[in-house]
């Protein structure tokens, strides 16, 4: 049958290029870049004194590099740099938090499916088949439409769709792990099931789910940006990258940078998380 689109591979031979003992540059580069982005978002008020919502029509449409406005101003005279920084707060927070619930629910279901099998596995796998039959964006858009615009709906919609990938990954890992000696030994020594699952199997099967979570954060940020671009995400005038692109598209000829900069920000966040995911794979393969 089908598998979910994995924007990044999990464990493939081609990514092993570090010999053991070598520093994991990819991982550190990714972590540094991501930390810088998070710090910039957290300390936005220190980095810019401009209010992201403050309109000033006299200072509208200033080009990047204008005094006091490093990245210029938009059609309403709002400072672009401050909107980017405050927008990062929204996109990163929602993007990261939206992945937590699917990671937890999907991993638990995957554990149980792989361990129990039988009717439970059959039912959950049929559910998985149904969810993956919908194109990701279409189902998320339809759910947010039904639930109403806003971040709460985004969390629910992404959770309702996102658990599937974790469930499949963890289930597959458990199917292999439960036949291994340490799992058989734990069973033979009569440990309670929950203890075998949580203390023995989970630590061994969760790594791949965590690697996937890195690219899943990118996916959920892309979903938020797309929803906001379509007018279903974070409500204006709150600064948000997707709605900034939508506003910038209206003045593409005169101020190309308004639509360009927020998109570049998404790309840089994606790059940081992709490096972390690759670095994690290297780290695990080294062991």
């Amino acid at each position: 049958m089908t598998t979910l689109p994995a924007p990044l591979p999990t464990f493939d031979a081609s990514t092993i290029r570090k010999r053991s003992g070598e520093r994991n540059i990819t991982l550190y580069a990714g972590l540094t870049l991501f930390a810088l982005i998070v710090l910039a978002a957290v300390f936005a008020p220190l980095l810019t004194s401009a209010d992201p919502l403050q309109q000033n029509l006299l200072q509208a449409r200033l080009a990047p590099g204008s005094p006091g406005h490093l990245l210029g101003t938009d059609d309403l005279g709002r400072d672009v740099l401050s909107r980017i920084l405050y927008g990062a707060r929204v996109d990163l927070r929602v993007g990261v938090l939206a992945v937590v619930t699917p990671l937890v629910i999907g991993s638990i279901l995957g554990l149980l499916c792989g361990w129990w099998g039988r009717w439970f596995d059959t039912i959950v796998m049929r559910l998985v088949d149904i969810v993956v039959a919908f194109p990701f964006y279409v189902l998320v858009i339809a759910l947010v439409f039904a639930l109403g615009q806003g971040t709460k709906s985004i969390y629910i919609a992404i959770s309702a769709v996102g658990w599937v990938a974790y469930c499949r990954i963890v289930r597959g890992q458990v199917l292999v792990a439960k036949e291994q000696e340490y799992a058989l030994a734990a069973r033979a020594s009569g440990l309670p099931t929950w203890r075998i699952l949580l203390r023995h199997l989970l630590p061994n099967v969760i790594l791949q789910a965590i690697v996937y979570a890195m690219s899943d954060i990118v996916l959920s940020i892309l979903a938020i940006v797309t929803l906001s671009y379509l007018g279903l995400g974070v409500a204006p005038p709150s600064p948000e990258w997707g709605s900034m692109i939508a506003e910038g598209q209206n003045s593409l000829l005169t101020q190309w940078y308004l639509a360009t900069i927020p998109g570049l920000c998404v790309v840089v966040v994606g790059l940081a998380l992709a490096l972390i995911a690759d670095g994690l794979v290297n780290q695990f393969n080294k062991r």
Partner: protein, 314 residues
Amino acid sequence: MQYALYVVRRLLTLVPVLLGITFVVFLLLKLIPGDPAVTLLGVHATPASVAELHRQMGLDKPLYQQYLSFLGHALQGNLGVSYQYRGVSVSSLVFGNLAPTLWLIVVGMFFAIVITVPLAMISANKPGSATDGAVRAIPLIGIGLPSFWVGVMLILLLGLKVKILPVSGFGDGFTGHVQHIILPALTIALAQLPILIRSLRASMLEVLVSDYIVTAKAKGLSRSRVMFGHALRNAGVASVTVLGVNLAYLIGSTVAVEKVFALNGVGFEMYNAILGRDLPVVQAITLIFAVLVVMVNLLTDLAHAALDPRVRLG
């Protein structure tokens, strides 16, 4: 015979999936806060008229009966009536806009393959080289690319700065369609590149160390003959599945991309329906997109089984 059995088995798996899909789409109505009848009639509607509309819409019946009647209507191609354009049937609205979306998907997939194959081949030909490094950087940069933003950038560069291609609408006639579809299709293709390049490169590297490639090299075949004639054929078969899954992803991104280019396809219709709070249209389009994905997956699996006997034996 064996293949026919596989086809029958595969077709039977469609039944629960299609039932599930229709049920999820049906449930969208129930997710919406508030009473749909009140939404349609306005807040000043009398209780009697609300009850009357409930009866007309079948909302006074139990949930399973409502679902069965939804399913029955859907099977007859009756997907309800648009809220936004009173009296217009949803199916005429949606199917009338299917052509640009199908164009977009087919041409987008074509561009994606045409760009992916040479890049992955060059990269797998000399792993570790500078070219390989450059190709491997594409997925890292590309993973965070919002597809609609790629579209906006293409409009900026190829439509407005260098005015070589039209940037909105679907044009007239075959040539018009071709001209208008290039930028949106390229947008969709570029957004797919990271995943496609990664997977084809990985399966090429895997195939290139197998015994039959060594034999082919030992026979003294030329490098290009080995790469294209032998390796790509096998690596390509493995990538067919990835391609199918990506097509599902690609279909999803048409909503935002069609909005960027004001391409009047099904995705753009979904955007309009969202703006107009037009639930039946959103439901119908969600259903059609899902059915499209199921069909694509079916064809992918059947193609895969036809190309690779191991699949149908499994």
